[in-house]
Subunit: 229 residues, 2 copies
C-alpha cells in the first residue's frame, strides 16, 4: 500500500464516509485509535483490533504491513491536519496583529485541538488523548517519525513566543513553553490525574469548552508571570 496515502483520503473511503460501514482499512484505523488510547500500544493486540472492527485478522498485515506501521498510520492520519490547522491559525494571527499576544498564541494551538475534540468524524477527543499518551510513553515511532517531520511546528511556535515574550531569556522561555504544552496536552487528554488528586466529578466531565474556559487563563498566567529576582 502506498505509504503516503491513508484510507481516509482514498476515493473508496470518501464514498463510504456517509455509509454505515466504512471500508476495511478505515474500520481498522478507527478501532485501533480507540484501543490504543484505552489500553496503550503494547497492551492492544491485533486480535482485539480485528475482532472489534469485524474484519479478518490478516487484514491488518495486508493493509498496513505490521502493527508498528498501523500505529504510524493511525497517528499520521490525524496529526498532519492538526498541525496544519495550528500553523494556519498562526499565519492568520501574525498577519492580523503586529504585536502577538500570548493569549492569542495559546489560542492558535488550543482552537484546532478543541475543534478536533468536538468532531466525531475525526475521532473526537480520542486522537488528542492518544497524542498525549504517546508523548509520555516516549514511543520510538514517535521519536523517529514525528520529530523530524514537524520541526517546522516547533520552530514556528518558539519564534512566535519569543516575539510575544521578548523579556524572557532563552532558558526561561523554553521551560515555560514546556510547562504550557504539558498542561495543555494533559488537559485535552482527560487523564485521570484529576480523579486521583482532586477526586472531583466536575473535572472528570470531559466538556471541551470547560477545559478552555479554565485552561487558557491558567496557561497564560504561567507564561506571562513576571521574572523573579
Amino acid at each position: 500500500m502506498d505509504k503516503t496515502k491513508y484510507p481516509a483520503s482514498t476515493k473508496k473511503a470518501q464514498e463510504n464516509m456517509e455509509a454505515s460501514r466504512p471500508d476495511t482499512a478505515t474500520r481498522i484505523l478507527d478501532v485501533s485509535e480507540r484501543l490504543f488510547v484505552e489500553h496503550g500500544f503494547e497492551a492492544t493486540s491485533l486480535r482485539m483490533i480485528t475482532q472489534q472492527a469485524e474484519v479478518n485478522l490478516a487484514a491488518v498485515n495486508y493493509h498496513f504491513g505490521s502493527k508498528d506501521a498501523l500505529f504510524e498510520a493511525v497517528f499520521m492520519r490525524r496529526l498532519a491536519p492538526l498541525i496544519a490547522s495550528c500553523l494556519a491559525e498562526l499565519d492568520e494571527l501574525e498577519a492580523r496583529e503586529e504585536k502577538l499576544s500570548v493569549e492569542g498564541l495559546v489560542t492558535t494551538f488550543i482552537r484546532p485541538c478543541l475543534a478536533l475534540s468536538k468532531d466525531p468524524a475525526r475521532g473526537g477527543a480520542l486522537f488528542v488523548r492518544l497524542l498525549s499518551r504517546t508523548l509520555v510513553e516516549n514511543h520510538r515511532l514517535l521519536r523517529e517519525t514525528i520529530s523530524q517531520q514537524y520541526s517546522v511546528f516547533v520552530q514556528r511556535y518558539s519564534r512566535a513566543f519569543h516575539h510575544a515574550l521578548p523579556e524572557l531569556g532563552v532558558e526561561e522561555l523554553a521551560w515555560r513553553m514546556h510547562f504550557a504544552f504539558s498542561v495543555m496536552f494533559n488537559a485535552f487528554a482527560g487523564n485521570d490525574v484529576l480523579k486521583i488528586f482532586t477526586r472531583s466529578q466536575i473535572v472528570s466531565a470531559r466538556d471541551p469548552d470547560m477545559i478552555v474556559k479554565y485552561l487558557v487563563p491558567f496557561v497564560v498566567a504561567g507564561l506571562v508571570s513576571p521574572v523573579e529576582g
Copy 2:
C-alpha cells in the same frame, strides 16, 4: 510473603543496604522500577527483569506472586513514604502559618518530590516518572489500590487550597488543582513533550533544581490568577 511488608523494610534488606549486592527481592524491585519507567508495564517482561537483576526467572513469582503484584510492590515501596512526607510538610505549614500561601502549599508537594528525585538510594527520579506514567496510562492497579488508600491526601490538599484561595468557586478550584498537579507531575517525569515541542537541550537536562526554579512560579501564577468576568 506478607503483603504489608516490602523487602526494603525487612531486616535482611537493611543489612544489605550498604553491601554491593542487595537481596533478591530488592534487586527485583530496583530493576523493575527502572524497566517499568523505560518501557511501560506491558512491554516489560519478567525475563527482562530477572536477567538484568541476575536472579532466576521463578524468583519473581516466588517473592511477589505475580507480575501485577510486583508492580504494586514497586509502586507502594515509594508512594507511601512520599505521601507521608507531603502530609508532614503540610502539617508543619499549617502549624506555622495562619493564612496558607499558595506558594507554600505548592512547595509542600514539590519539596518531597525533589528530595526523592535527588536520592539515588530511593530510586532517584525514577519513581516520580513511574508515577506520572502510571497516572497517564490509567492502570487498573493504580485505580484500585491507590485511589482508595490515599483519599486522605486528596482531601487534605483540597481543603488546604480552598483555604488559601477562598475566592475561587469549587469548580474553578478543582480545575486549577488539576492543571497544577498535571504540570508538576510532567515536570518531574521529565517527559519528552519538551524535546518535540521545544527541541531544547536546556529543558532536557534533568536538573531538579532547575525544575523548581521555573516550575514553582509557573504553577503559582496559574493558581492565583484573578478570576475572569
